[in-house]
Symmetry: C2
Subunit: 256 residues, 2 copies
Amino acid sequence: MKIVVIGAGNVATHLAAALYNKGFNICQVFSRTEESAISLAKKVNAGYTTCLSDVNKSADIYLYSISDSILPDLVSEIRIPDAIHIHTSGSTAMDIFRGNAVNFGVLYPLQTFSKAREVNFSVIPLFIEANNEYTYRKLEALALSLSSDVYEMSSERRKKLHLSAVFACNFVNHMYEIGSELVQDAGVDFDILQPLIKETYDKIKTMTPREAQTGPAIRNDRNIIETHMKLLNGKRNLAKIYELISNDIYSIHKKQ
Amino acid sequence: MKIVVIGAGNVATHLAAALYNKGFNICQVFSRTEESAISLAKKVNAGYTTCLSDVNKSADIYLYSISDSILPDLVSEIRIPDAIHIHTSGSTAMDIFRGNAVNFGVLYPLQTFSKAREVNFSVIPLFIEANNEYTYRKLEALALSLSSDVYEMSSERRKKLHLSAVFACNFVNHMYEIGSELVQDAGVDFDILQPLIKETYDKIKTMTPREAQTGPAIRNDRNIIETHMKLLNGKRNLAKIYELISNDIYSIHKKQ
C-alpha cells in the first residue's frame, strides 16, 4: 500500500513518521515549502515534490495534513478518483472530498504536535470516519496499527471535539505564555511557576476542573481583580481577557 | 512559639497543617464558619473560635489566610501590638498592617490549594517580606522549616507574581473546565482529553510556551475560527473569550 503525504507541517511530520515506523510505504511527500518537503521525505525514505502536477498518481492513499484554509483547493486539484483520500483536520467535514473522490475519510489525531518534539503515537486517541464500509475498514486497520485508541466519530461531533481541544490545549498553552510574560515583570524566572503548573495539571486527574478551581475570580475578590486589571493596562488586550475569564469563572461558580 | 490562625479556608488549612506537622504550636483557629473552624482546629490539635472578641491575645504569631476583601477589616479589629502579624495573600501589600502592628510581614505560598487534596509543602516556593530585620529572621526560619524554596520579595513584585499565577493556574484550570464542558457536546468523556492535556503540560518543561503553540489561532485559520465561534454562540461569553485569546495568540506569533 503506497501513501502520498500532502503537507510537511507538524501533524504531517509526526503522522508520516509513525506510519513509516510501522512499515507503511510513504512513496512521496508534497509540500510547497521545499525545505519542509525535503526534511520529511528524508525522514520517511520517500521522494518529494513542491509541484502539484508532479504529485504521484499511482498511490493507494493520499493523506492530507495541511492547513484547513488550503485543504479545499488541494483536494479539488489533486483528484485521483481510484485512491483513498484522507484528511487529518479536526474541524473540516469529511464531505470536502465529495465530488472529488469515491473513497474518502478522516483520521483525526487528538494531540498537539511540534516537529522538535517526539511523541508516542500509540497512546494518542484517533478519530476516524469514512464514506463507505470499504474505506472505513482500510482506515481502521491503518489507525489501529498506530494506536490502540481508535474511535469512529462523525464530522459534526469531531468539530466539537476539536473545539474542546483548542481550549484544553492551545488556550491552556497561551495562558502559560501570558504567565511566562508576566512572571518576568516580577523579576523571576518562568521556572518558579512550574510547581504551580504541575499541581494545576495533577489536580484534574482526580478532581473535576470545577472542583479544582481556586483564586480571586471564584471568590469574586474585586480588590484583587481590579489591582490585576490595572497591572495589565497597556498590555495588548490582556485586561479584557482577564476580565472575561474571571467573570466566566464567577458566573459558573456562584450558581453552585 | 504560639500561633493563631485566622481563617480556615484552603490556604489556612494546608499551611496550618504543614506548620503543625513541623512541630509548631497552633493554639487557636478563628473562622466565622464554625464547621471550617472545627475541622481545621481538630486537624492541628488547636482550640477554635468564631467570635473575633474571643481570639487568643497571647500568641506570638497571627497568621491571616483569608479572602483579601475581608483582610483589612480583620487586621484592624484584631490589633495585638506585641505579636508578629503575617498574611499569606499574593496581592495585598504588607503595609496593610501598618498602624495596626509593630512587627509584620507576608508569607505567600505560590501554589493552588484545595482542602480535599494533599500537597507536598516542601517543594512549594514561599515568598516572604517583613517590615524589620527581627520579623524577617523569625519569618524566614518559619518558612525554611516548611520549604527549601524561600525567597524575599517585595509587595510590588509579589502582586505581579500573583497575577502571573492567576493565568498559569486559575485560568489554565478554567480552560480545562470549558474544554470539559465542550467535550460533552461531542458526546465523549473528559478523559479523552487527558493525553492532549498531558502533552500540553509536558511540552513546556522543555520548550517555551511560545515555541510549543499549535492550532488554528497561530495559523489565523479563519474558516476554523469562525466555525468554532458559531459553535460557541449562546454559551455564556465563550465566543468572545475564544476570539480574544485567538487574536492574542496570532498577534504575538505573526510578529516573529
